[in-house]
């Protein structure tokens, strides 16, 4: 049963993604890439689970490496997006 529930969630999430992403203005396609890139770092929560076991093991080490990589991805992605978005300005009012 579990697998079908997860699959339903996947399909519904695809629909949400489809509509939300089509709503993004083409001028912001670069920030869209870097924002979605940053949030794909959500894999960090999977990494946390493997890195969070109590005793030291190879798996824990691998988990920690994964946490590190995902964190670089997350922080870097959001920071780059922020820098990009700061530059998009309206016309100054005269």
């Amino acid at each position: 049963m579990e697998i079908w529930m997860l699959l339903s969630i996947l399909v519904l999430a695809c629909f949400i993604g489809y509509f939300v992403v089509w709503g993004v203005t083409p001028a912001l396609h670069s920030p869209l890439m870097s924002v979605s890139n940053a949030i794909s770092g959500i894999v960090v929560i999977g990494a946390l689970v493997t890195a969070g076991v109590a005793d030291a093991s190879i798996a824990k080490l691998l988990g920690l490496i994964a946490v590190f990589l995902a964190s670089v991805n997350i922080f870097g992605g959001f920071a780059v997006s922020h820098r990009m978005l700061l530059m998009f300005k309206k016309k100054e009012k005269k």
Partner: protein
């Protein structure tokens, strides 16, 4: 408090959706980005302090460390290196999925299929992004790297990969999982090598989608709903972007992925160029023509990015508008540059207000009423053969109708054909004037002339 984690995940997932939603317009975009950060903090904190994690201190330290590295490099990078930065971050995300999948299998997870999906997609996203990074950074040639039997080799490797994957799922043998990781990383490299520079917007979008689908795979392995939701949204985003890019080139995804486009240039002395000569002008003439115009449309391409000409271009636009009352607009082709929306970011960096920047469909009709089209570092995206010559490789690609303007300036280094290898007949048109040279230098000279004539 078993409800705390699911509740946080629901909130966090919603925040991510709103964060993408915010990108619908530049006014709400910054807020959107902040919502994304908030969602991420919530998801991490909720996971860290849930019963799933018993040791949170060490991982927390590692997050801070990774965060510093990521933030530092993101703040340090020059805006022109943005495409490779995005590619690099994307690759790290993919590699992270690879490590999670490995850790899961090592610690005895029975979710063989789910982890294989996470591993394979993550590994391709990783190595493919690294090759894209190397190409964009100029570490290796940006040209399409093709050799004999390449597609056959890739096919063999892909079949071997699926075979190994199937065998692993059947046997659960850890050693096979390592081979699978190594083989997939190699395949990722080979898949991206034959793809040339101007197809990078498509490649980057696809790799972006992969890092999302990899998260979905991991989500199934861990039964984690948030990973599935967010991965699907990222995957959809990358898929839609690649679709838009491929459409804007009138090519199929398959033809881009098979690569080799623009690898061998057709002889640039085709029949077209031999009996015709292109008229060249100097920046002073260009300045004179533009200051007497009513409307000028500027068409930037990758050449502008390479020459870093966006700032001086903005100065030229300001001079024309403020001193001579000329209406100046910018027209952007979807695939101009090396990633989706690349030109928009560069113009924004130069403080061009986004109201002055238009997409292809919005502005294409206006060329007929424009006095001047100033094409700077772009070529293929203006080639009228895309509309008239069914035999041309770029036939059917939507192009900017610059030839409808009274005068067309092309700022290019030479008459060479563009990335597609197709010669642009506009160079020899009667209303075209070529301005040879570096995009920045030529524009600087125009600005100097504009200042003098004031």
């Amino acid at each position: 408090m078993s409800w705390l984690l699911p509740l946080s995940y629901i909130l966090s997932g919603s925040l991510f959706i709103f964060s993408i939603r915010g990108l619908a317009s530049p006014q709400t975009a910054r807020g959107g980005n902040l919502l994304g950060m908030l969602g991420m903090i919530l998801a991490i904190a909720a996971t860290m302090f849930s019963p799933l994690v018993s040791d949170w201190l060490l991982p927390f330290g590692v997050i801070l460390l990774g965060g510093m590295v990521g933030t530092y490099s993101a703040l340090k990078v020059k805006m022109t290196s943005l495409p490779q930065m995005v590619a690099a971050f994307n690759g790290l995300g993919g590699l992270s999925s690879v490590f999670v999948a490995l850790a899961e299998i090592i610690s005895g997870s029975r979710a063989y299929l789910d982890n294989s999906i996470g591993l394979i997609i993550g590994a391709v996203a990783f190595s493919g992004s690294m090759v894209a990074f190397a190409k964009l950074q100029g570490l290796i040639s940006a040209k399409a790297l093709v050799f004999k039997g390449q597609q056959f080799l890739n096919l063999v490797l892909a079949v071997a990969m699926f075979g190994l994957c199937g065998y692993f799922i059947w046997s659960g043998d850890l050693e096979i999982f390592y081979y699978l990781a190594a083989l997939t990383i190699l395949l990722g490299v080979l898949l991206i090598l034959p793809i040339g520079g101007a197809d990078m917007p498509v490649v980057i979008s696809i790799l972006n989608a992969y890092s999302g689908w990899a998260a979905v795979g991991i989500g199934f392995s861990l039964n984690n709903v948030l990973l599935i939701i967010v991965g699907a949204i990222v995957g959809a985003s990358g898929a839609i972007l690649s679709y838009i890019m491929v459409k804007a080139m009138n090519r199929s995804l398959l033809s881009v992925m098979l690569g080799g486009f623009g690898a061998e240039k057709q002889g640039s002395t085709s029949a077209l160029g031999q009996d015709k000569t292109a008229r060249s002008g100097n920046p002073q003439d260009a300045a004179f023509i533009m200051e007497n115009a009513n409307k000028v449309i500027i068409v930037p391409g990758y050449g502008m990015a390479v020459a870093q000409a966006q700032h001086i271009l903005k100065e030229m636009a300001d001079d024309l508008h403020k001193s001579y009352g000329v209406e100046v607009k910018f027209a952007i082709h979807p695939v101009a540059g090396r990633m989706p929306g690349h030109m928009n970011v560069l113009l924004a960096e130069a403080n061009v207000p986004y109201e002055d920047v238009f997409e292809l469909e919005e502005i294409n009709r206006e060329f007929a009423t424009a006095d001047v089209a100033y094409v700077i570092g772009a070529n293929d995206v203006t080639n009228p053969l895309a509309k008239t010559d069914p035999g041309s490789p770029i036939y059917g690609m939507p192009v900017l109708d610059v030839e409808k303007a009274k005068t067309v300036f092309f700022v290019l280094r030479s008459l060479n054909s563009g990335y597609s290898g197709v010669e642009n007949p506009l160079f020899f048109a009667e209303n075209t004037i070529m301005l040879y040279g570096d995009a920045k230098k030529v524009t600087e000279e125009i600005v100097a002339a504009l200042e003098q004539n004031k």
